[in-house]
Point group: C2
Chain length 203, copies 2
């Protein structure tokens, strides 16, 4: 069992390792990982324990092996399947993004707007929100992306959870209660702005 | 000068402290921060140095004071002003989100589509992309949010940087070179999905 805050850090390690691989590096030491992520060496060694002891004496860790191990831990060795609820502005932008769709196979979208139901948006069929339970059960989907207006989000989440969804990527500002065995991840794009703000002088 | 990876962590501290405040807590110890963020105590103490020594013997740190200090460090004591380029699906969703607009005052949007120019989207005036330099200089804007298609993103970024923009929140998959004094932050929503994926069993 890895604590959620560490899982978040493992995602940062993965993205750093993928960048190092692109730069042509093959090995990396825990010291270099610590420098790049500005963590103490002890913190990095503690985190590395989660992805197994794979260091070679003197050479450091093999980047390819660490990437493979991390993708296994995060269960993303192959793209996950998901559904998307609320094919509005944000939903459509996610459906349109080849970057996003590389990592996740969106098999169906759902909307309450009858003008959208029955069409395809960037190749993904749009169903009525009454069909959510049927499709989730028939296709055995475990992950849902929630991009509806905030007022309907808790009700929709209830339908998803009853149908067997275990993880919800919640883009709405509504707070959704998560029963045991279900993980709700609230995406807050303002964090990205706060990070950027540090590097820009005030007006 | 705080290293970028630590700035990212400071954002996580801020969000955690704001959640603790909402829960009614007034003080927090470095040990509790370490537990909540699953960091070693040494790592937290090292990070706390960046936001000044504010702990009271035996009581821990005053949450309100830490929040104030962090907002000062991140330069978000008051909402930052920004412009948005590319008022398409994603851009419109950001303009529509009260959550996002609380943290940043989007003073103008820009687009190449003549059907959008001259209108207002959720109250924000949309100008032609030829007006970017003029508006940035006249209003002294330092932050830009980039939600254009990837092919035009590098050219638009060049225009923004020449006009005096210092920080770009880049939602496009295009990679943008940052000259000295300019900070480009690439937003990658797939990281959010990778994080969620860990908590959901494979199909
Ligand atoms: N996390 C962030 O920083 C951030 C940024 C932007 C937007 N948002 C949020 O994302 C959500 C979507 O924003 P948007 O601009 O795309 O809104 P939108 O109005 O364009 O899209 C919402 C879609 O949901 C559909 N819908 C309404 N009721 C439904 C139901 N019962 N079942 C299924 N679909 C339903 C609508 O028909 C519409 O297509 C909002 O909650 C918004 O606050 C969050
Ligand atoms: N980071 C992620 O995970 C993620 C997720 C979704 C979308 N995206 C990216 O966000 C961007 C926007 O996606 P979208 O679905 O909103 O696309 P879109 O086509 O709906 O919107 C693009 C907008 O940019 C405008 N535009 C085109 N050329 C322009 C120019 N020269 N100057 C100003 N505006 C111009 C278009 O008229 C349109 O309004 C894309 O680059 C997409 O890949 C990234």
């Amino acid at each position: 069992r890895i604590p959620p805050a560490t899982v978040k850090r493992l995602c940062f390690y993965l993205h750093l390792l993928e960048r190092l691989k692109k730069e042509g590096k093959e090995y990396v030491s825990s010291k270099e990982l610590a420098e790049r992520l500005d963590l103490t060496d002890t913190q990095v060694r503690r985190d590395l324990v989660y992805f197994g002891k794979m260091g070679k004496r003197g050479m450091g860790y093999e980047i390819e092996k660490l990437i493979k191990e991390l993708r296994k831990i995060l269960k993303i060795e192959k793209p996950r399947r998901a559904i998307l609820i609320g094919a509005g502005n944000l939903g459509t932008a996610l459906l349109a993004s080849p970057f996003f769709r590389k990592r996740v196979e969106i098999v169906a979208a759902f909307d309450a707007d009858i003008n959208k139901v029955g069409r395809r948006i960037h190749g993904v069929p749009v169903y009525s929100d009454c069909e959510i339970s049927r499709v989730v059960r028939e296709m055995g989907i475990k992950i849902a992306i929630l991009t509806t207006p905030p007022d309907v989000a808790p009700d929709i989440a209830g339908i998803l959870i009853n149908a067997g969804i275990q993880g919800i990527l919640n883009f709405t500002p509504a707070s959704i209660k998560s029963p045991p065995g279900v993980f709700i991840h609230d995406v807050d794009l303002t964090m990205e702005l706060e990070y950027l703000s540090f590097f820009v002088e005030e007006e």
